[in-house]
Symmetry: C2
Subunit: 281 residues, 2 copies
DNA sequence: AATTCTTTGTGTACTTTATACACTTAAAGC
DNA sequence: GCTTTAAGTGTATAAAGTACACAAAGAATT
């Protein structure tokens, strides 16, 4: 019934019609006008977004500067970084809150976003800096805050960072220092979830531009899984994945033999995917 | 670095010493005295436990009867079922809250429990019955409640249900009718998470008694994955899993050839597991 | 125009795993 | 001792995993 069914349904797609049928998971990356209606924020529920960005060399995570100044003399009391996140509006779905955080930072919509874990232990706001930060912000550090963790995947070159006022930047995940609150834990769990997902479903392309080369895709796997892969074997493997559509188009402006470009076809994937596979079947 | 390393570390374990080194994931199923200190419950955060129980024929889920009577004449206003769950105490970790719910219902500790998803959308308490139920209970149905979903795995025969006052029972997952709140959604997501996990890591034995036969283990996979497996191929596959330890002991009291019993060795598993495996490596 | 540099793109032999398939054996109940 | 029931085992074929090396394409340099 499940299992590795070899005679799977397979939709033939000609190279001519490819551009029409291919989207990033049927969602489109585009800008929109911010049409946020100001409503009341829920004080107890927040979403934290671990926004991963790939730049061909590193897996990066988007971090926000958190600097607390002395009210009187302006002296810097401490300065560190946090993951991106926000409290949710009272009538807002949590997925929408995560999309909103992402949109406010990147101006992008429709990018890959997945809930991976929730953090709600009573001691998650216990460090002095965290308490001082919340107090300064008029919040009660003794109240438990539930943080629902999402991770997002995008190509760094697809995004021009825009966050009014606060400093936000890409940091390679293996260069991340001590973060605010329990954000190191959240990042660690996001990485675990990302690795698992990457081994389970074809989401590697979400970290690349719409058109990508096989070497770029291979690099995604190598960097995130921390392993080296053989080029020929990797290509043999992806050749079996009919949803990776070769285009009649090549890389431009590279000082070497230009590679063929590929796209991911969500349609083909949905129609050819095996139900489940892994440990036993 | 990762990948399918064939020369994996392997601890030889003789049949003589097996009983000492084998536990259910190093945790012990035992009873304890309830030592709950009554503290304040957080009104906004709850845990819902999808408690799965396997009985060799079905995958069951533990459900609680929810009947609302008219205060005046005692007439039954409605009667349906819910998943098991509770709000958390103000100083309690969410994993501890889930363990507590489980312990209160089953008297068991140390059983497999995993956070799988959080449910917090604003419309999750919108059905009239749900609102009436909360009102009757002195709670505000307009306040958003975050529910952190956990699933638990156990063998139904390991547990004698004990919940003072309220009716609680095992229901086969494919016979579950409409549940309270968004509990059908939660159950569906728990099933998806269970299937994924079952294909990813050896947790099937968590649904069986400590000592089990290979046919019982096979049945776990068949029922949960909804597929039929070939007996010889299944055994060939588990023969490679060194953490399934054959015992010098056989089934008793069965009207046919008794099967050899096996145990899961958490030690061997931890020492021989490949780091990650699946889609690409 | 020729040379260098860099990355692309391809094939084969071997090993391991997956799949399909049927009969004998052990114990209990009658 | 005969029947019933599930346990336990092997082989042949197909598919996938793994290890490994060199020619070709374009850009940059001389």
């Amino acid at each position: 019934m499940f299992g590795n069914n070899k005679s799977i349904l397979y939709f033939a797609i000609t190279l001519v019609s490819v551009e029409n049928t291919i989207t990033k998971s049927s969602r489109i990356r585009e800008k929109r006008k911010s049409s946020k209606i100001v409503k009341e924020l829920n004080k107890y529920i927040s979403v934290d977004c671990v926004i991963f960005g790939f730049d061909y060399d590193n897996l990066n995570v988007l971090l926000v500067d958190r600097t607390l100044n002395n009210d009187v003399n302006g002296e810097v009391l401490f300065s560190d970084m946090t993951l991106t996140g926000n409290h949710i509006y009272e009538d807002e779905k949590i997925e929408d809150a995560a999309s909103r955080v992402l949109f406010d930072l990147t101006g992008l919509e429709g990018i890959y976003l997945e809930q991976f874990k929730t953090f709600a232990n009573p001691d998650r706001i216990s460090k002095p800096n965290d308490r001082a930060w919340l107090l300064n912000d008029g919040r009660d550090p003794n109240k438990r805050i539930v943080s629902i963790g999402f991770f997002a995947l995008l190509a760094t070159q697809d995004v021009t960072l825009e966050w009014k006022g606060r400093n936000v930047k890409w940091v390679p995940v293996n260069e991340v220092k001590e973060l605010a609150f329990d954000h190191n834990d959240i990042l660690d769990e996001a990485l675990i979830a990302l690795r698992n997902k990457l081994l389970q479903e074809p989401i590697g392309f979400e970290l690349l531009p719409d058109k990508f080369t096989l070497s770029q895709l291979q690099k995604v796997y190598e960097i995130i899984l921390g392993t080296e892969l053989d080029k020929r074997n990797f290509r043999k493997k992806v050749a079996r994945m009919k949803y990776l559509i070769p285009l009649d188009e090549k890389q431009k402006g590279v000082a070497h033999k230009p590679a063929r470009l590929y796209m991911f076809s969500c349609d083909v994937y949905e129609n050819t995917r095996k139900d489940i596979f892994g440990f036993i079947v």
